[in-house]
């Protein structure tokens, strides 16, 4: 009840003309940076940060978080339309979003994505409202072994599902780990796999690889398959948005499960990207229409989008309560908090309740405004697909390279994107799955760090991963998910689980 009273106080802080105006500006700017691959929320927020130096903290954080929501929404748009994820966390949206759009149902695909994103975010904020008092104690129980167990769980839930041949999945995941290892290793403090080549010092950017694998790789395939100079015959009717809205309740199971996965991964250090992969994996496993996954199944869009947004929102909680950023964007905002003269940490809720609850209230408002804004833009974005390939193809090439350069302002990244374009083409031709590579790149080095830290702390004893109830449960759950496909086949007879 305390929280509810505080929340209403928060609404009284957040509901002013000035603040709502800032929300609108933030969300629109966010959609813009989200749509452009490579620019992304972290870059967008740090570009905007200097403008907030003179603002009061509540207005400043509202502007920045609104931009974050906008970017999360915008990131799904290019995933669905062009198979180019605008944000790392929208990679999993491409798996089914792009095929559905290719079938001429871009309006549906976008509406599914935005609606489930809005739902996810809302669940995330509700969780924040309810848990803000207790999460701190829970989060403090996480040390290196628990971190590792969370990442391990994400791997197992995604990898355990059928699909590509096991050996090919292992090759793909191995490539991902190798790429993630490039650069400075924080546990040993030494450089790895840089071959004394300065451009590799900072590691290989995951986003640039994604732009290459998906964006450029897809273009090469399209060109090979005989240049389709016509656009897709997409019917764009605004009424489709409403029709999709009416379909949403049918997917309640996926929505709920994904929102829970998202909140869990947002509060624990898993993060939005791992959450979306994990949720996609689970949705596929529990779906009656497993054969349809990867070919444009609505559940395949709803699952990653819901999880992505609930995780992105829930990640604000550890940031506020503990001062630990749950994502790259949260790290930038944390820097902002210090410049505005606030001390993030356990006392923030006590010392600056107006700030914290104003922010939480603005999350409710910001996400509602965000969903309405993006749904209004769906017909516009969907009609982009009707533009002939001869025009849109070159434009995508330009967007890809501009995006790759924006990630870290490194000319070298342009070559990386190009190189991975060919790798992506090869992977698709040889039927290697790309997703395990991406997942390994995103959380591979974090999982490795956590694993090595655990072993330093336990002096090399693997039993540290079963040393308490929390980490033991997580590990057991992960292993269960890993062997589930095999076990299910043994228990319920074969045949059914042979997915494409």
């Amino acid at each position: 009840m305390d929280n509810l009273a505080s929340l209403f106080h928060g609404f009284s802080v957040a509901l002013s003309f000035h603040h709502i105006f800032l929300m609108l500006v933030g969300i629109l700017l966010g959609i813009l940076v989200g749509v452009l691959p490579g620019l992304g929320a972290p870059n967008g927020v740090s570009l905007l940060l200097p403008l907030t130096f003179t603002m009061d903290p509540v207005a400043a954080i509202i502007l920045l978080t609104s931009m974050y929501w906008g970017a999360l929404f915008g990131g799904s748009t290019t995933s669905i339309l062009f198979n180019i994820p605008g944000e790392p966390s929208s990679v999993a949206t491409t798996f089914d979003g792009y095929p559905l759009a290719q079938k001429g149902k871009a309006t549906e695909a976008l509406s599914y994505a935005f609606l489930s994103a809005g739902f996810g975010a809302l669940v995330g904020v509700i969780v924040i409202t309810l848990l803000s008092g207790v999460v701190q104690k829970f989060a403090l129980r996480f040390s290196a072994p628990e971190y590792f167990a969370v990442y391990f769980l994400a791997f197992c839930s995604f990898i355990g599902l059928g699909g590509a041949p096991v050996l090919k999945t292992v090759v793909s995941i191995g490539c991902g780990f190798a790429l993630a290892a490039v650069g400075m290793d924080s546990v040993s403090g030494s450089l790895r796999l840089t071959f004394e080549f300065d451009a590799l010092l900072a590691g290989i950017s995951f986003l640039v690889v994604v732009i290459g694998l998906f964006g450029i790789g897809e273009l090469i395939l399209t060109v090979e398959e005989g240049l389709q100079l016509k656009g897709i015959e997409a019917r764009v009717r605004p009424s489709d948005v409403l029709r999709t809205m009416a379909m949403m309740p049918r997917h309640w199971a996926t929505l709920l499960r994904s929102a829970l996965v998202g909140c869990w991964m947002g509060i624990t250090p898993g993060g939005p990207t791992a959450a979306s992969f994990m949720s996609y994996g689970l949705a596929r496993r529990f779906s009656k229409y497993r054969q349809g996954f990867g070919k444009g199944e609505p559940d395949g869009i709803i699952a990653p989008e819901t999880a992505d947004h609930s995780a992105g929102t829930a990640a604000m909680l550890p940031m506020l309560a503990l001062g630990i950023p749950g994502s790259a964007t949260a790290a930038v905002m944390l820097g902002g908090l210090m410049i505005w003269g606030l001390n993030p940490g356990p006392m923030l809720f006590v010392e600056r309740p107006d700030f914290v609850w104003g922010l939480i209230a603005s999350m409710y408002l910001g996400n509602v405004i965000g969903v309405i804004l993006v749904l209004a833009t769906v017909p516009m974005f969907a009609s982009i697909l009707r533009i002939p390939f001869a025009i849109i193809g070159p434009a995508i090439v330009v967007i890809c390279f501009v995006g790759a350069y924006t990630v870290g302002s490194r000319p070298f990244d342009l070559w990386v994107a190009l190189g991975f374009g060919f790798v992506g083409y090869l992977f698709k031709k040889l039927n290697y799955p790309i997703a395990p590579l991406i997942l390994a790149m995103v959380i591979g080095d974090k999982a490795e760090d956590a694993f090595r830290q655990s072993l330093i702390m336990s002096k090399g004893a693997l039993s540290v991963f079963w040393s308490n109830a929390l980490v033991g449960t997580l590990m057991a759950l992960a292993l269960l998910l890993l062997v589930w496909p095999v076990a299910a086949r043994v228990l319920f007879g074969g045949g059914r689980s042979s997915a494409p």
């Binding site: 740090s46 940060l49 400075m184 403090g189 030494s190 010092l201 950023p325 210090m338 993030p344």
Partner: protein, 329 residues
């Protein structure tokens, strides 16, 4: 003859008319930050950017660029690619001159032009609030009694925290298990959660947890007590923390300078230009407020004083690196 006279006259006029700063920025300036957004160096550079903007100290606009890859090496490499370009200002800590020891990098310390240091960040020895140790001495004795069981957390590897831990071990004989984490925030949470036994965070990294009485400081690695007298908890403030020397620890001083650099081969005037601007920055009320809030020690060092500081810090750290066998090549 006439031409010569004219030339001489022009030359003389130039020399006489030359203002205090012959060098002025002629295009937008890039602040290269050698940490990722939100890091200590990032806050340092953005604070300077905001003070410069507020007081209109530089007429050109300033763009902040984060190049934190490879523990900051990515940013310091700017000195190679932008040699002679005085429109690139690089922000760092003592990692500017210490990084090339522990990793084989494409730049040497001699490729950099030192401009100034504006602050010294302090290091404290922290334990969990409910730990039984009343003093630093007591804690160190406990560690000595059971070697290789106490966990000391720190950010990164072969960086300041591990250097300090090594100094502490070598001088007292107390052997820790050093566990590297990603940054001061994660380190702080590990101690608050009771997963490690101590850490050596900067004041700013642990002020929130101290206030919440999750952790408490035992001593500060500074020759004098901290200046800030504001109370953090009900009974204690920063100035109440004893120095480690008072507590009988042999490590008297360990501080991390917040530094500003230019690439090699820039005009000497440009160095003076930036040093003067930064001096003005360090005298503004906003800057003093930032120093007080983050509990650093405000100290402006430029020119020979800065060089002497670097030489001394370099010597001390190098001794640790050599003993630990961290030096590459």
């Amino acid at each position: 003859m006439k031409t010569l006279t004219a030339l001489t006259a022009t030359f003389a006029a130039l020399v006489v008319a030359a203002p205090a700063h012959a060098w002025q920025p002629s295009k937008p300036i890039e602040f290269v930050v050698t940490s990722s957004p939100g890091g200590g160096t990032d806050n340092f550079a953005r604070m300077i950017q905001s003070v410069i903007a507020k007081h209109n100290l530089i007429s050109q606009s300033i763009v902040v660029v984060n190049k934190g890859g490879g523990s900051g090496a990515e940013g310091f490499l700017t000195v190679k690619t932008a040699a002679g370009d005085a429109h690139k200002v690089i922000f760092g800590t003592n990692n500017a001159y210490l990084l090339p020891y522990v990793a084989k990098l494409g730049y040497k310390f001699s490729d950099m032009t030192p401009v100034a240091a504006l602050a010294l960040d302090e290091f404290l020895l922290w334990v969990k609030n409910d730990a039984p140790y009343k003093s630093a001495k007591e804690y160190i004795e406990a560690v000595k009694a059971k070697p290789d069981t106490f966990k000391m957390a720190g950010s990164q590897s072969k960086d300041t925290d591990q250097t300090l831990t090594s100094m502490l071990s070598a001088s007292t004989g107390a052997k820790f298990i050093y566990v590297p984490f990603q940054g001061g925030g994660a380190v702080g949470t590990q101690l608050a959660g009771g997963h490690v036994d101590s850490h050596t965070n900067n004041p700013n990294e642990s002020i929130g947890q101290w206030k919440a009485e999750q952790v408490r400081p035992l001593c500060v690695f500074s020759p004098t007590r901290l200046a800030s007298t504001t109370k953090v908890t009900a009974t204690m403030g920063w100035s109440d923390i004893p120095t480690c020397k008072e507590q009988g620890l042999p490590v008297e001083r360990f501080q991390m300078p917040r530094t500003v650099w230019l690439p090699d081969g820039v005009p000497a005037d440009a160095v003076t230009y930036y040093a003067d601007i930064l001096k003005k920055v360090s005298e503004t009320p906003e800057w003093k407020e930032y120093i007080a809030r983050t509990v650093q020690t405000g100290q402006f060092l430029a020119g020979d004083a800065f060089k002497a500081f670097i030489a001394n810090d370099d010597k001390n750290s190098r001794a640790v690196f050599e003993r630990e066998g961290w030096i590459v090549k």
